[in-house]
């Protein structure tokens, strides 16, 4: 995993002495232009979000989205904080995401390990196909029975949402893990068994650590999906005091009223963890994106 940036030989553009035909150091202007445009596509909305969050209500609706906030105010943050009861909603969201991330990694890794090592047995092979088939069932299709079921068994709370996240992602995650597991040589495992290790020990001490890069990929996807999810918590959680942040933020978007400044302040606060997580894990995000592609 070495994605060190390509070192470009120092070749100042101002000299204009580049050879005709160009070498690898030649600036690709069309690509640069496209990349600049793409960067703007991220930066402009981000700028509007940040400047909007610091505006007063009057300035937020004056029709000039790009103007700088004047006067600068933190009122929107205070309002968003109290309206959504931010600390509580935030903790619930963290709980759901952490449980979903940990659960998805462990459960899918276990399933994939069992399936790959028992591929010659029909039950395991078919159970793999059975799990894969679940990829074709999106949550909205089975939302109604899920609402009733979770209500019946007392899982109409954040824990139920986390469990549903784990289960719905099981299909895709198991596929990722299986593909990766096939590349781990059986001999490694055999040598450990020779020393008297049982299946659990082999899994926890050898296989699970080896699955690290793939676990990072699964974890990142799991975090993004569960942190941003609106529909599942909105339908499953029955106690309004245990609701997650995205659902609580719904109150800022209605047909009849716009509270851009409060909404954007709230979104910024909710975005923060995702950005922090990305900053710390971007190394794995980048490698993880290609990880799933290579068998």
């Amino acid at each position: 995993m070495s994605n060190a940036t390509q070192t470009i030989p120092a070749q100042p553009l101002a000299t204009g002495k580049r050879r005709f035909g160009g070498g690898p150091e030649r600036t690709n202007w069309p690509a640069t232009a496209i990349l600049i445009l793409c960067t703007l596509g991220v930066l402009v909305p981000l700028y509007v979000t940040i400047s909007m969050a610091f505006k007063t209500t009057g300035q937020a609706v004056d029709g000039n989205a790009f103007s700088l906030p004047s006067p600068l105010t933190l009122d929107s943050f205070v309002q968003a904080w109290t309206l959504t009861n931010f600390p509580r909603g935030f903790m619930i969201s963290v709980f759901v995401s952490v449980t979903a991330v940990a659960g998805e990694i462990v459960v899918s890794a276990l399933a994939a390990y069992a399936i790959v090592r028992n591929w010659d047995r029909r039950v395991f092979r078919w159970s793999f196909f059975y799990l894969l088939a679940a990829m074709f069932i999106p949550f909205p299709v089975v939302a109604l029975p899920q609402i009733q079921l979770t209500g019946l068994v007392g899982l109409d709370n954040p824990l139920g949402v986390a469990i549903l996240h784990i289960v719905f992602a099981l299909a895709f995650n198991t596929m990722l893990f299986t593909a990766f597991l096939r590349s781990i040589p059986l001999e490694l495992e055999e040598s450990m068994r020779m020393d008297g290790a049982g299946t659990w020990q082999v899994f926890w001490r050898l296989i699970f650590p080896l699955l690290g890069p793939m676990s990072a990929t699964v974890g990142i996807f799991a975090f993004i999906a569960s942190w941003n999810d609106f529909m599942m918590p909105s339908l499953i959680i029955s106690d309004p005091e245990l609701q997650t942040i995205p659902v609580l933020q719904k109150m800022f978007q209605t047909q009849f009223s716009n509270s851009y400044n409060v909404a954007f302040a709230s979104y910024l606060m909710a975005m923060a963890p995702a950005i922090v997580v990305y900053l710390f894990t971007q190394r794995w995000v980048m490698s993880g994106l290609t990880q799933g592609a290579v068998k």
Partner: protein, 425 residues
Amino acid sequence: MLPPLTPAGTRVSRRTFLAAAGGSLAAIGLAGCAPAAAAPTITFHQSKPEAVPYFRDLAAKFTASQDRYRVLHDMATNLSASFVRSSPPDLGCLNYNLEMARFMERGALADLSDLPEAGSIRDDVLDLTNWYPTYPGRTSVIPYSVMAASVIYNRRIFEANGLSVPTTWDELIEVCERLKAAGITPIYGTFRDPWTIAQGLFDYTVGGMVDVRGFYQSMHQVGEKVGPDSEVSFQKTLLEPVRRMVQLKKYVNPDAASRGYGDGNTAMAQGQAAMYFQGPWAFGEIEKAATDLDLGTFPLPMTDNPADLKVRVNIDLSLWVPQVSNGQQGARAFLQYLMQPEIQNPYNAKFLGFGTVKDAPPVTDPRITEMQKYYDEGRFYMGASQFIPNTIPAANYIQSIMGGADPEATLRRMDADWARLAFRA
């Protein structure tokens, strides 16, 4: 490279994680249980966003005023899901519309007719709930606040051009012509948002000419036979109002097609146009952008007879208690608390609503006082767009008419949709 195998290390971290997860679970569980043990919790579902702090405050006050119930303000739970789960909120305080009426029609809402508060509601206001499908023999909803909507106009622009409020269709056209001649945009259109056309132009023009309730009663009776030859139909009954609606297109801002609700509010705050087809909910938004304004409201005149003038109303908030709620007593107690004049009247005054009880005080806000007369005399209708099930994308059809589609063909299509839906039912 493999991470070094340190059994103790991994064990501890795993144990710490589990302990942390268990701990947070317990904390959440306890937080949920602790107050409930003291007094039964009444879930109060209310989701009108601008009124959330207001009602949250009321819920806290009620909880503090007695020790039998604790009221929990809920704005986040999905209503349909809670009914599916058989754990609906104990007391609802929501906009009453066709979607809500489905719960009533199926008997999901409890009878409240034994409450003295049910008897205090104005008969014609209580009757508004019967415009939608009902459950026989029950008073399932108690209207809490009525919103009256009509054309919002800028009094200063009218005065500066020597114009008075029009009371007939011809006067309206004349007002528009004179404003146009003076270089002022007569009507601000926000056609990018389909609902603004449906609830504004469409509802006002139709409501001013057609008996909305009678029309939909006949439409339901004719059902799957609705078509070019039926006694009522969109293409026949609504054609004339819709034609007039298209006629008004001449007087909107040229960029109406790309303007949304938010733009309209800002434009009205900046005095860019004289008239605006929105309800009082827009005042709160306009106020955000500018407060030094003199706005008023008048019913859209659609005929040559000023006696035909009517305003559009809707039950903005209604109170109901679900049949399966297990906090009936508490819900009723809080309902009665909310219905006290000293609670209900200030709410309506603050959020520009009209009172629903027989002795409700008249509104005092100068922006809506002009509608009081019509409301008192029962000269109102509910918006025609509000009776079309969501399965028919009526607002989009109406938007396409304003965008240039043939009104007759589009209304024919709505008839076909209506008949198809009736056939399926």
